[in-house]
Subunit: 430 residues, 2 copies
Amino acid sequence: MDNSKSFSIGLVGLGTVGSATLKLLENQLININQKSGKKIIIKAISAKDKNKNRNIDINKYDWEESPLALAEREDIDAIVELVGGSDGLAKKLAYTAIENNKYFITANKALIAKYGYDLHDKASNKDLAIYYEAAVAGAIPVINSINDGLVSNNIISIHAILNGTCNYILSDMTNNSNSFEDALIKAKELGFAEADPTFDVEGIDSAHKLVILGLLAYGAKPDLKKVYVEGITSIEAEDIKYANRLGYKIKLICIASLEKNKLDFRVHPALCLSGSICSGIGGALNAVFLEGDYSKKLTFIGEGAGAEPTASSVVSDIIHAAKSNKFLNSFRSIKNVREYKKITSRVGKYYIRLLVNDKPGVLASITSVLNENGISLDSVIQEGNESEENKYIIILTHDCNELNINNAINKIDSLNSLIGKSYLIRVENI
Amino acid sequence: MDNSKSFSIGLVGLGTVGSATLKLLENQLININQKSGKKIIIKAISAKDKNKNRNIDINKYDWEESPLALAEREDIDAIVELVGGSDGLAKKLAYTAIENNKYFITANKALIAKYGYDLHDKASNKDLAIYYEAAVAGAIPVINSINDGLVSNNIISIHAILNGTCNYILSDMTNNSNSFEDALIKAKELGFAEADPTFDVEGIDSAHKLVILGLLAYGAKPDLKKVYVEGITSIEAEDIKYANRLGYKIKLICIASLEKNKLDFRVHPALCLSGSICSGIGGALNAVFLEGDYSKKLTFIGEGAGAEPTASSVVSDIIHAAKSNKFLNSFRSIKNVREYKKITSRVGKYYIRLLVNDKPGVLASITSVLNENGISLDSVIQEGNESEENKYIIILTHDCNELNINNAINKIDSLNSLIGKSYLIRVENI
């Protein structure tokens, strides 16, 4: 190591991730210095409340009351932002850091999903770079793998489970036959869900991460409007039960793929074959299934959140920044690919849940609508006690077009015997 | 990209991996140049037979009859060795390349397992580096993950399935109730096993890869003598059957871990709980289960061999070399850890298969020996027709010490009623 070279960082945000990052930097400083070939110096830190009890001694570091002032300091080479939120302070910090010729390191997926493309641009114009391995899938080195290990591959597809909250809820519904509502309460109690879980359960957090991977794999400028997003709030305990009986588990899946020059980006619940690796991803774990044209299929599984796994990736990025490792951070630009596939053009199997008022001929009228729309059936389950008026009908189709399914469902939903609306889940081969 | 900068490689070996590497370099040259920031030039190639039909046009490249002459050429920056074998040409090429101030890139696990430490040393003395991502687990970026993504982690343990041939054979025995011999014949027919499969089925290839990971994770100088190695040739169809009945699958597992300042390196068959991710790794796939102190558990699954997955990693390494990315290539040096744990000090569960001449009291005499040695039992299966003289007794123990098991087994094997020797398989929680 050249001791004359140093690399000074300013750390903003000392919540659980910020504190874990500081601790890891302190624990591993010799190793980190050796790996980066520079002396890493934690020059100054900034957070909301200096006096909060953090189980870590921050008095040895320069304290900066204003995070933005930190980003303007001349004696700092990189800003590590662990504040969160797509706008507000995080955004200001990112732009201020780059304007002031600093590398920018973050775990903030909302920020990168919204401004990542522009920040890349601004940074590379200044011969700088931004780093955000921790923003997607925690400690799983997925960004590094796309940009480095698979650097020479055309990425055929990415399938992923990227939201630990949803995976925890779906796993709990599967293992303990809980309703969505009960599983959500449990997830909140155990710290797997936030007080307001909307971002997670509606699939938005997953979509943020998906567009980041889409940027790296396909050079697709992040745009949430291009992503079909459907959360898990409509999944009922019955869906888990019937899916299981049909040989499937339900997961919230992110998909990014390039097919016939069209990008296909979507987040939605999906039935995955029981016994597949995907179906076995339990609890709050994350998983990424990457297919490259040379690498073939690769699977990565690990903790997608949590202070220590996130800190692990942040510190790896600090070393990248210290080494000015810019190629890790660039994305594939696939020319002539501007078009996105519409969800209605999807072809695949579908699971349909219907609640009907059980009169003679109900099933016949439903299957005849499906038949008229060219949809053939793999399995049908009709259940309920003789005495019950309302019964579930569960249908698993063969491959068909989503447009046809939608047409059929519109007709079926208008049948007199139908109670409420039918509910569709796509079946994916992962 | 700075067009004035170029990086010239000499490629030695044009078998399936060499040809795939050349093809991938040609296909992705623009992308590779952009990522490496240099113009990558395939300056010259060398292989056994120039005129072999390769489905690839090699006439546009300089042909060098002598591979060693290639390694001495002044106009070459890196040698890519895809020849194989721990000694002979591969070894000469490696040392010649470094002596002549060239980076050295290889997919050769036997070479790196034997000379990797010394080659690292020689290379770093010249401010060069050696690269071998392709030597372990094909396209899975496991070396990159240990050295980069998990750079700031203390590696707690590595568990891995690193030999596709063995995993194919064990999967076939499991799925089709084949004997080891029949599964091996099938594996040879399908190209999953070589004509002489000794290296694979005896666990030696796995041990090579294990010591490479051990070098990177713990700075442990590769030494096959320090590794307990046991292959899969003694596994019978009955073991698969009974393991399955007890709720387990059998896999050939590589383990490297640091426990109380002692290194534990071993390769042996193991019972893994059915339903675990490990037990579900089918066919010729590889899997690596890494646990870091901050990252927590990470799992990587992919194709461990094959021309294209291997080429994917080789080309990624060519870019690392072009960028002189040396930190990716260094290993953790854990001071004061020189001691290795002996296999006899292992504590865990054991599966024991015994074939006995069924006389009254046989089981009683066996269990009494186990009891005398402090070994308590989880399950016992005794099977065979009334009419059969010889019956299998299958025992699953609770946690116990391997020394005690060995003592017990020695006594049991000397019992009159025992036919042949008993066979042990360790149970691992992966």
